[in-house]
C-alpha cells in the first residue's frame, strides 16, 4: 500500500471511530431539544422536530436540580483540596523525615491500595452511620479523602526534590510547615495539580457511595440525583436529557480549555 493510501485509510478509520465515540454526546444534546412526541415518533429521530428551550426551562425549574449540582461541586472541591493537602503532608514525611516506625507506617498506608473500597461499602456505611454523618457533606467525602496512590504520586516527585534546600531552610530556623508552604509545594505544583484534578473528577463522578449515605433530596449529589429527577416517569425524557447536558457542558468547556493539563494529570499514573 502506498503511503498516501495508508494515510487515507488511517483518516477514514479515525473518522469512523470519532463518529461512534461522539454519538452518545451528540444524541444527548439533540434529544435535549426533543418534544415529548419526538421520543415516540414511529421512526426514531436524530434531530428534534423543532428547536425550543422548553426542556431546559423544565430542568432549570426542577426543585432540586440546582442543589444537586451545588452539592456535587462542594463535595468534589472538598475532597480534592483535602486529599491534596494530605498527600503533600504524608509524602513530605516519608521523603524528608526520619522517625521510628517509618517503614511499618509506610507499609500500612500502602496496603490500602489493595483494598477495593467498593467491597468495603457496607462496613463503611455502618461506620459513617454510627458517626451520625449520613446526609452530611462530611459523610459523603470522608472515605475518599485519603488515597495511597495520590500519596505515592506526590512522594515520587518529592524524592527528587533538592535536600540541600530543606537542610538550609532548617538551619535558617524555618519550620517544616513553612518549608512546605513556601518552597516544596510551589516548586512541585504540577504534581499537586495532578492529584487535585484526579480527585475532583473521581469525586464528582462517584455514584454508589453518595447514593448510600444520602436519603434527603437536598443532600443528594448530581450523579445520584440525575437518576431520580422524575422527568422520565412523566414522559418528559427531553428534560432528562437537558439536565444531563447542563452538568456535562461545564466539563466539556473545561476539557477544551485545559485539555493538555487534564491529559497530563490522568496519564500521571504511569510514574507511580
Amino acid at each position: 500500500m502506498s503511503e498516501k493510501a495508508c494515510r487515507t485509510a488511517k483518516i477514514l478509520m479515525a473518522a469512523l471511530l470519532s463518529v461512534i465515540v461522539l454519538f452518545p454526546l451528540f444524541y444527548t444534546i439533540s434529544a435535549s431539544f426533543f418534544t415529548p412526541q419526538d421520543f415516540t415518533a414511529e421512526k426514531a429521530l436524530f434531530l428534534p422536530s423543532r428547536l425550543s428551550l422548553r426542556n431546559y426551562a423544565l430542568a432549570a425549574a426542577h426543585r432540586y436540580f440546582g442543589r444537586y449540582a451545588l452539592n456535587s461541586f462542594i463535595t468534589a472541591l472538598m475532597t480534592a483540596s483535602i486529599r491534596t493537602v494530605l498527600s503533600v503532608l504524608s509524602a513530605f514525611v516519608f521523603t524528608h523525615l526520619e522517625f521510628r516506625g517509618k517503614r511499618i507506617l509506610l507499609i500500612a498506608l500502602l496496603s490500602t491500595l489493595f483494598i477495593p473500597s467498593d467491597a468495603m461499602l457496607y462496613e463503611n456505611y455502618k461506620t459513617v452511620a454510627g458517626l451520625h454523618l449520613t446526609d452530611t457533606y462530611l459523610g459523603i467525602i470522608l472515605p475518599s479523602l485519603f488515597s495511597a496512590s495520590a500519596m505515592l504520586l506526590t512522594a515520587g516527585v518529592y524524592l527528587s526534590a533538592d535536600r540541600d534546600i530543606y537542610d538550609a531552610a532548617r538551619i535558617d530556623g524555618s519550620g517544616d510547615m513553612r518549608y512546605m508552604a513556601s518552597i516544596l509545594v510551589p516548586l512541585t505544583s504540577s504534581v499537586s495539580a495532578t492529584v487535585f484534578i484526579q480527585a475532583f473528577i473521581s469525586s464528582f463522578n462517584s455514584y454508589l457511595w453518595p447514593l448510600l449515605v444520602t436519603t434527603k433530596p437536598k443532600m443528594r449529589t448530581v450523579q445520584v440525583g440525575i437518576t431520580m429527577l422524575g422527568f422520565a416517569e412523566e414522559g418528559e425524557y427531553g428534560a432528562q436529557f437537558a439536565s444531563i447536558v447542563m452538568i456535562t457542558l461545564p466539563f466539556l468547556i473545561l476539557l477544551i480549555a485545559v485539555r493538555r493539563l487534564i491529559m497530563k494529570s490522568l496519564s500521571a499514573r504511569i510514574g507511580e
Binding site: 471511530l17 507506617l105 473500597s117 461506620t127 479523602l145 445520584v224 485539555r259
Partner: protein, 281 residues
C-alpha cells in the same frame, strides 16, 4: 521525642486515622465476620467456621453472578483493548489532522458514569429507540439477556475509553525516539514497524492498562445499577451488584462479609500483577 519525629507523627495522623477507619478496620471486620454467624441487626450469634463460605458457593444466585461477571469480562476486555489501542495508534504520530480525533477521543470524559448510563438506557429503549432505527431492528435491547449484556459491555467500553486512550497515547509518545529511528534506518516501516517495534515498546503500559480495566470489570456494579438493575432475569447481575443487594436490601451479613473478603483477594492478586508490571514501565 525530637521535634522532627513529633512533626512526622502529627502530619501522618489524619491519613493514618482515615486509612484505619475506612480500609483496615472494615477489612478486619469483614474478615472476622465471614467466620461468624451475624443476625440482620448485627448481633453475633456464634462461630460459623466456613459455613458462610459454603452457603455462598451453594447459592445459585451467587454462582450466576460470578458467571455473569466472567461473561462481562470475556466480552469487555478484548473489545475495550482493541478499540482503545486502535484509537491511540491512529493518532500517535502528530500530524495536522490528528488534533481533531485526539480531542474527540477525550470527550467521553465529560459524560459522567450515571449520565452516560442514563443516555444508553434511552438510546436502547426498545423498538422506537434510536439504536433500533440505526440497526433497523425492533429488538427489545434491555429486555433480552444477550442484548442487555451487550449494551452493558458497550457502556463499559465508553466509560473506560478516554482514560485508557490517554494512557496508551502517552506511552506511544514517550517511546524512546532512538529505537524508532534505528528501526527506520534498518528499513522497517508501516505495519511491520508498528507490530514489531512500537507495540512491544509500550507492552508494559498496555498490560498495566489491560489489568486495570480487568480490575474495574471484575468490580463493576454502578453501571449495572443505573442501566439494567441486574435484569432481565438477573442476567446482568454482577458479583458486586449481588453484594450490594445482599448487604443493603436483604441484610444478608454472611454473603456481604464473604464476598468482601473474596473481592479483596481478587484485588490483591490483580494489584500485585499491576505493580510488578509497573516497575518495568
Amino acid at each position: 521525642m525530637k521535634k522532627n519525629e513529633r512533626n512526622a507523627y502529627l502530619f501522618l495522623a489524619p491519613s493514618l486515622v482515615l486509612a484505619v477507619l475506612f480500609f483496615m478496620l472494615p477489612l478486619a471486620k469483614s474478615f472476622t465476620g465471614s467466620f461468624l454467624t451475624i443476625s440482620q441487626s448485627g448481633k453475633v450469634l456464634g462461630f460459623a467456621g466456613l459455613r458462610n463460605y459454603a452457603a455462598l458457593f451453594g447459592n445459585p444466585a451467587f454462582i450466576s453472578s460470578v458467571a455473569n461477571t466472567l461473561r462481562f469480562i470475556v466480552l469487555f476486555l478484548p473489545l475495550n483493548t482493541f478499540i482503545t489501542l486502535l484509537a491511540a495508534a491512529l493518532v500517535r504520530k502528530k500530524e495536522k489532522w490528528t488534533r481533531i480525533p485526539e480531542f474527540i477521543f477525550l470527550t467521553p470524559l465529560a459524560l459522567s458514569l450515571s449520565a452516560l448510563a442514563l443516555v444508553f438506557k434511552e438510546m436502547f429503549r426498545g423498538s422506537v429507540s434510536i439504536m433500533g432505527r440505526i440497526f433497523s431492528t425492533d429488538v427489545q435491547w434491555l429486555d433480552e439477556p444477550f442484548t442487555a449484556m451487550a449494551v452493558l459491555v458497550v457502556l463499559g467500553v465508553f466509560l473506560d475509553f478516554a482514560l485508557d486512550f490517554i494512557l496508551l497515547l502517552a506511552a506511544f509518545r514517550s517511546t524512546d525516539r532512538s529505537i524508532l529511528e534505528a528501526a527506520e534506518i534498518d528499513g522497517a516501516s508501516g505495519a511491520r514497524m508498528f507490530f514489531l517495534i512500537e507495540l512491544p515498546a509500550i507492552g508494559n503500559m498496555l498490560s498495566v492498562t489491560v489489568l486495570m480495566a480487568l480490575k474495574d470489570a471484575a468490580m463493576i456494579s454502578a453501571p449495572v445499577m443505573v442501566l439494567t438493575e441486574g435484569g432481565p432475569f438477573r442476567s446482568t447481575e454482577t458479583v458486586m451488584y449481588f453484594y450490594y443487594l445482599e448487604a443493603f436490601r436483604s441484610g444478608n451479613r454472611g454473603a456481604e462479609t464473604t464476598i468482601a473478603v473474596l473481592m479483596v483477594l481478587v484485588s490483591v492478586l490483580l494489584m500485585t500483577l499491576i505493580s510488578r508490571r509497573r516497575r518495568n514501565v
